[in-house]
Subunit: 385 residues, 4 copies
């Protein structure tokens, strides 16, 4: 059986969407890496392309000529497997290959992919292709948040362009009551999911309540102005170290100018929108806010069990759960085995999706994860008790 037309058409759409995200950028924006966790847009463009070249074209297309054999070094994120090299490099130093060369690379790979895909026909390729598209969708979200970081840390605070990031909260605040008992957790369908969502299994949850709405900027502002960042007993010990070391006093992108709170958005600097959910806070901040409010964060199981009772999708929601393997979890063999398992320590799970998440790249069993101090993603707070 050959690869489905839907999948091939998806390939084209996903690849184009990545380029659309970059359309508003100047060439100079593509090469900047202002901090370790943020990658230059050019690197995202190249890396997602290298994925298809390396795992499909090189493996399955006879006589395939790689576009540039240096690129497998430059755009590979799995440095551990590399052989000897003249120079180590940092992603932020890569003025070359140029943006034009990277787009040429994309075009070259896309054309050969589109030409050969209809004739390729095994489950394994279909599987890799699906992973590759999901992988690229993850990088689409990172592209948006990395671009926000790059522009939002430029003293000119340039605008990226129209981007509907801060929608108001429309529902009235309510607490959804959930019963004590067994719940089914994990992905059960026959469509795509990541290895970390498997295996589906049973958990036992005590009685709890979870809020239908996210915490708003207004609520968070009260916490800020009430001295939340000065009260050490609201924070984890590591969280307090983070506050002290960085002299943090508000979410990322908040700026107080002439006594008024503003926040940097992809449309430029704007007055803080009090009705929108608070975002760009890290786990330490989410936890401290919940403590201060007399509540707590939900576990990822509580979140999943209750997710049909509330609207989600505007911010990734920090949970109290650590990112750990589900029962019976097995890393896949080969290079793709590095995808999820090796990060299963010192990370917290986030559930839901954000305004930057790619369409059709979200589901209620999806397990996103970040280190607790990071806040450049669109992250928010849902309370439980």
């Amino acid at each position: 059986m050959s690869i489905t037309k839907t999948l091939i058409s998806n390939f084209t759409k996903v690849r184009q969407r990545t380029e659309s995200i970059c359309a508003p950028l100047e060439k100079e924006d593509y090469a900047i890496q202002p901090t370790e966790d943020v990658s230059p847009p050019k690197w995202h463009l190249g890396h997602t392309t290298w994925f298809f070249e390396q795992f499909i074209l090189v493996q399955y297309v006879e006589d395939y000529q790689v576009f540039n054999k240096e690129f497998s070094f430059i755009f590979n994120s799995y440095y551990e497997k590399l052989g000897e090299r003249i120079l180590r490099t940092d992603r932020g130093n890569l003025s070359r290959p140029t943006v034009d060369e990277v787009y040429a690379y994309r075009k070259y790979v896309d054309e050969i992919m589109e030409q050969h895909l209809p004739a390729l026909s095994c489950d394994e390729i279909e599987n890799i292709l699906t992973i590759g598209l999901n992988h690229e969708e993850q990088h689409q979200e990172l592209l948006i948040t990395d671009i926000k970081y790059i522009l939002g840390h430029n003293p000119l605070l340039p605008s990226y362009g129209y981007f509907k990031a801060h929608l108001p909260i429309e529902e009235n605040e309510e607490w959804v009551q959930m019963k004590r008992g067994q719940y089914d957790i994990g992905f059960r369908g026959d469509t795509f999911c990541y290895d970390n969502e498997l295996n589906p299994h049973t958990v036992f949850i005590e009685e709890y309540a979870i809020r239908n709405t996210l915490v708003s900027n207004q609520e968070y502002l009260v916490f800020v102005e009430n001295g939340g960042y000065q009260k050490f007993d609201l924070w984890h010990s590591e969280g307090w170290d983070w506050v002290q070391k960085n002299e943090n006093k508000s979410p990322m992108y908040w700026h107080k100018l002439n006594g008024k709170w503003n926040h940097y958005t992809l449309e430029g600097l704007q007055e803080l929108d009090l009705n929108a959910p608070v975002t760009h806070i890290n786990y330490f901040e989410a936890f401290a806010f919940a403590q201060w409010a007399g509540h707590r964060l939900p576990t990822e199981f509580e979140w999943e069990a209750a997710n049909q009772q509330f609207k989600w999708g505007q911010c990734w929601e920090w949970t109290e759960s650590a990112y750990l393997p589900y029962p019976g979890y097995k890393k896949p063999d080969g290079a793709l085995g590095e995808y999820n398992g090796k990060f299963m320590v010192n990370q917290k799970v986030l559930r839901g999706a954000s305004v930057a998440t790619s369409p059709s790249h979200s589901r209620s069993t999806y397990r996103n994860f970040f280190q607790p101090h990071l806040r450049w993603q669109y992250t928010g707070i849902r309370l439980a008790k």
Copy 2:
């Protein structure tokens, strides 16, 4: 009702045991802090004393004169609450107060405690006293491991004296089979436990097997000599960073001399005992070993559910579980509230007890915790699958 005689007699015993642990030391050993996680023995002696002075004598004994008002600054571990001070200090700089002064401090506090305890009589004091004794027992274990670190990082490798740390594994290796279903977790008795062991609750566990014996030095040596520390795919990403940065190639205290493996023990440098459990490994190493062996570490719930099926108590056993609050967990109010809750991020749970654990300071629900990179405790590996 007044404080029980048993408790008062316990007070005397626990306080004396702390001093017995230090008996083999030279005065100079008391003041050294070779690394951040290790405290000088003198500090442990003073800090555990300050606890009783501050939380019992100052609060409940009329006209109590503190031994030295500077000590509350020096021996307080809760720096966040301090007022203004001339100088900040590091524990490792404290040549003064002298060892003799610290013993005089202990004597002063102990005598007043023993004199007044029989007359004091409320649940609250009994509660604080019990916490204080458990607190001191925790520091007894730290004293032993910190002394081992201090002497074991001295180039003369001096011996501390007789200490039965490396007992052979006597059982034959077997896998205990456990059924899928609900299990009760957490402390249920009416004797003392820490807040983090409450509340008792139900968990659902999938079918699993757990080994009756700990991993031996012999087994771990095969892993070492098989290149376990060179195979990045056995390690977490953070674990691999740790291996690379510190150029680690074996457990702490192992030394290869003239082609033969030795380990530093509290009795000095000795030939590696192949039949004893491997110890002084961190979570990253425990995980990598389990990966290499084709198995995994148990969760803390799996451990607790099965703990009556195997012998434990020689090493703290790393689990796969992150250190998180149990359902319904509430931090106590006041200074004692800082005891456990603020560490509930980026730490792994260890279960069991070790040769250095104080008598009667262990139970099957006890939740010990450390950051995943630490290995100066007597830590070991039990496998699950």
Copy 3:
């Protein structure tokens, strides 16, 4: 008296030469800052322009409208004087202003300068203009060495284009004998010089000899292969720390490939030219080489006293002298006072000029200076004894 035509014509030439140096670059090359000491080419272009805008146009041209008031923040190197700002910035994060905007800025300032200069007429302006041109010539040299660093640390090792950097040594090696006695040091003419070359004064020098030729790659290669980087007694204590910490084993840009020594040049990677002077070594390396050769480096006074006896101009030559004020040295008032004086500690003097030095920007009294560990400039070794 109005500003001379020569000076105005110089202005145009110097400004154009800066842009010629950047002509071979891709836009992406302009924004990269791979290490702290290297500035992005875009920053050099903006900063040299800001100098004329700030110190001439803003001060002396009525109704002058600054091109963009944010630029005085972005392109000012004197951060200490800044007022409050929303964000601090690193030069390497500046994707905006774009390259095109920076060139527009240059054009705007140049046109207004050229239009108004003929009518402006005071010594002070002429003085600032002259400093501004010399300042820009210094940045021209930095542009070349920073571009070399940026491209030479890109794993693709791209070529900048034709650049005659490695000329052979043509003279036969000889030692020039110099007599004991008083010598006149410092700038005495009525043309431009920096404040640090004043005041002219007398020094007393003991008898010495100085070599007419620079140390060649061939000579330095013997040192490298003779284990020069492994012999701690050839090095200063700080130099040895530098060797150990960075695992240095050869000059910057040397690469051993398949057993053969190559060096990266602005024309790309080439076989090491044995007859060319060794370059891109720091003071520690220059000193260690001299120790190994049984000689020493000259002082800056020995160099200046003897400079007419040998050819110089291919590499900046490390001297044994620390960068210190001459007798009677006074920092100029105002912002220009920060130019030289504040660096007069922990820096070594280099004398001569290099292939990257701008035409007419060299003289025998010129005092260049860098910290002893830096080696991205065209630096070389002349021996004395």
Copy 4:
């Protein structure tokens, strides 16, 4: 010819004086290393002993049995020459050997030295013995300043005991005028001096004036209260970084308590003595003060040329000179060659002597040196213009 009685008697006196300096210490004080530049007193005691054992007894006394062969590792400061070792060590971790063992080591070496010295008889030994005594005298000064640092950074601020460190300035302030011309510099006698004071040579100095008195605490206090630590243009670029990074606002050991300035002295915390010379300031502070006062620091040559015109000996006086080799300087061969030469970069020269300098360990040609940021020595300021 055999070793002179004077030298042998000197040996005994110097060795005893070292122990007298330590007499007021508690055992616990001997092992502390609160910062990298400060060594534990125990290490000084052992290291100065190891010097005689290694360079005299081991070399020249037949059948000499080293006291403990581990000690050559522990008490050797020349780590570069060491062979393989089980463990690296930090001086601050050395609880063992104990203080008693170190004193036993001293006694053992001293007795054998005193027994054999009369029979030993060559210039080389006399030379090494003299160096060893001068070496020990240097460590005597370090012992005093290191003890001050250890006790002065203990939050209890304990007193060391009677030590006459802060004598009032008795002379009236005057400027000594010095003529332009040639001056002889360097040591010319036939008694002991360090290699760095040789060779005597001629320098040419421009006309200058130098103050007869040191800068007082009173004068420096005006600078402090006048905002001297907030005015960046008074400081070197590196000095300003030091101010900012450490938030320095006054000399080391000054403490403002209840609005009044105190300083920690070896006799404990005392009200700041306004008539005593300011001390414990680094080169950056000395330079900034001189800038603020409209003067400058003298060069080491100016200092030496004028030294008979003023009283000196209370503080080491920062000069403007970098620590560089004199003309014709040659490092001695062998291990003693590491003594001075390898530090001749990034250090400033101090001239004079301090209250902590050992008797007969000072002369007008003596070149002391420290890195410009250090201030735990008794360092002060003499102005020139």
